[in-house]
């Protein structure tokens, strides 16, 4: 394999690893958050909903800039990270994950929240009358019934992370082999006038996005046909 192809493959592997890690973290953090947002009557609900949606309207470079500052070795968070791991968050894979988790948050939380909200309270109440406690109800009723929302959330979170550019460039710096993801590699190829290499990567991402959406729609259609 030529070094050029290897470098591109590395960028693809980093991208997929980043997207998978981010999606996993987002599902673990986003599901309880979405559940809380769907059920609470707290006054905090609206401000937190607005915060979650911020990445949808903010320029990625703005988020990236503040992350760079906020996670740097002189910030409290960055210093703590440095003591724990003896490394810095900016320009590292861990930094990319932190940035991606924040940036893709709404794409995971919003479909989940909508799924939980559409369930209503009737089935949860029925489960309560059958002696299911709150956690039991969440895992045996709310979560299984949010399956379509979970599929959508995971897909959107994954695909959106794959397509990220501004945030990962700001916080990762696009270091080949470490923090250069596919979208940055495409940009660099275009800068170097290597349109053929850019085209291979770009077409790959295009096909990937299409396949993933196709998969989601198929799964959701199957679930719907089974009355879920």
């Amino acid at each position: 394999m030529s070094p050029a192809v290897t470098a591109d493959l590395t960028a693809v592997v980093i991208t997929l690893r980043l997207a998978a890690t981010t999606t996993l973290i987002l599902l673990v953090l986003g599901t309880p958050l979405a559940w809380w947002l769907a059920r609470t009557h707290s006054a905090l609900r609206t401000p937190i909903e607005a915060l979650v949606a911020m990445p949808l309207v903010m320029p990625p470079t703005v988020l990236g800039f503040y992350l760079l500052v906020g996670l740097g070795p002189h910030s409290p968070l960055g210093a703590a990270w440095g003591r724990l791991t003896d490394s810095t968050l900016p320009f590292s894979f861990a930094g990319l994950v932190v940035g991606s988790v924040i940036y893709s948050l709404p794409f995971v939380v919003q479909p989940l929240q909508a799924a939980f909200e559409s369930q209503g309270r009737v089935l949860l109440e029925a489960a309560a009358t059958l002696r299911a406690g709150p956690l039991d109800r969440f895992f045996t009723v709310a979560l299984p019934l949010a399956r379509r929302g979970l599929v959508t959330a995971a897909t959107l979170g994954f695909a959106h992370t794959v397509g990220e550019f501004g945030v990962v460039l700001m916080i990762g710096g696009g270091i080949p082999g470490r923090t250069e993801v596919a979208s940055i590699a495409i940009y660099n190829h275009v800068q170097d006038l290597q349109y053929a290499r850019a085209n291979v990567l770009a077409a790959g991402l295009l096909a990937f996005s299409f396949l993933i959406l196709l998969m989601v729609y198929t799964i959701n259609r199957r679930l719907r046909r089974r009355g879920l």
Binding site: A126, A127, T129, G227
Partner: protein, 357 residues
């Protein structure tokens, strides 16, 4: 005796619930009243689904709620079976899966009806592998009842269990509910706005109006009380608990005995000695002063007028005492005047039709 005590208050904008009643440990108590009177809210509060409700709910010696003592047992710790109007079956589970969900969470020592038993009883054996969306309304309702029974409740709450069904569906599910009543040693609170349903299923009635308990008591007594709206209108009538005393295979008739005499009805399939509840509407009884002879009416009972109340400018509702049982008769005011009807008067009640409940 009074195994169930309910004394609940709940305030909502434009609505106030303030209900207090007792019910025995056995039998069906109907919460009856017009739509919007707060029956469903009351039932939900008893199940612990209305956290804003304050007051007392006590079931067979256990305080499920006692706001003065800061006791509020959450729904999942109340041994309550709840069948709501919108049969809330889990769509991601089969019928069997729905029954098992309840069974697994019922404390082993309190379990009474297992899923197989419940399925056999409500004739669900052929449906066990289906999912809720593949069931008819009546089947869903039966599954919901079976699931509630499997959860080993100490109190069964039924919220308009027949309202989602058409007439045919109702007629099919009523026998199951009646069997429930006859065989299970489990108190049932039944919310209904159908007097017919109440007359068929309940032993006691709590009459609810505008979030308050207007009156409560044994069903037969309640239905005969002329001061209550249930004793007025086209559906007004009395219920009698009778025993099958004879069959006349020649004329295809069955004789029902009750303290006030005997009623002949169309042949009934149950054997002699079986208990049968009948409902006789006030509009189906006419009054005569002399024993009518040469009449086609089979059932003529000696009775005594106990009370009269104006029904409309043209009609009068008459309560009759028939050997201790009460019957209602609706007659025109003109007839009442012509016969000089007054309390204590001996008359004959001619029963034009008897409905089986």
């Amino acid at each position: 005796m009074n195994a169930i005590r309910v004394d609940l208050r709940l305030e909502r904008p434009g609505f106030r619930l303030e209900a207090r009643f007792d019910a025995p440990a056995r039998g069906v108590t109907a919460l009856f009243g017009p739509s919007g009177s707060g029956k469903t809210t009351l039932l939900r509060a008893i199940a612990g689904l209305e956290p804003d409700a304050a007051g007392v709910v006590r079931v067979s010696g256990l305080a499920w709620q006692d706001s003065a003592r800061r006791i509020f047992v959450p729904t999942h710790r109340r041994a309550v079976g709840y069948v709501s109007q919108e049969t809330a079956l889990f769509p991601h589970r089969t019928v069997r899966g729905n029954l098992d969900y309840a069974w697994r969470r019922a404390p082993p020592r309190e379990r009474t009806v297992d899923p197989d038993h419940a399925a056999r009883w409500l004739e669900l054996e052929g449906l066990l592998t289906r999912r809720p969306h593949q069931l008819s309304g009546g089947e869903r309702q039966r599954v919901a009842i079976a699931r509630a029974l499997v959860s080993a409740p100490r109190l069964l709450l039924l919220d308009e269990p027949l309202s989602a069904l058409d007439l045919a569906g109702r007629l099919r599910i009523l026998p199951y509910l009646e069997r429930l009543h006859d065989t299970l040693d489990l108190p049932v609170l039944l919310v209904s706005h159908s007097l017919d349903e109440v007359a068929r299923l309940a032993d006691r009635m709590v009459l609810i109006e505008d979030g308050r308990v207007r009156a409560c008591g044994a069903l037969a007594e309640m239905l005969a009380r002329l001061d209550l709206p249930t004793a007025h209108g086209d559906q007004a009538g009395a219920v009698l608990d009778t025993v099958i005393a004879e069959h006349d295979p020649d004329y295809r008739l069955t004789g029902l005995a009750f303290p006030g005499g005997r009623l002949m009805i169309a042949q009934h399939p149950e054997p002699i000695g079986a208990r049968v509840r009948v409902r006789i509407l006030a509009r189906d009884i006419s009054i005569a002063l002399d024993p009518p002879r040469r009449t086609s009416i089979l059932n003529v009972l000696p009775a005594q007028v106990s009370e009269l109340a104006a029904e409309s400018p043209a009609q009068v509702m008459v309560r009759l005492d028939v050997g201790g049982a009460a019957l209602l008769a609706r007659v025109t005011r003109r007839s009442a005047d012509a016969l000089g009807l007054h309390p204590g008067q001996a008359v004959f009640a001619q029963v034009k039709s008897v409905a089986l409940s």
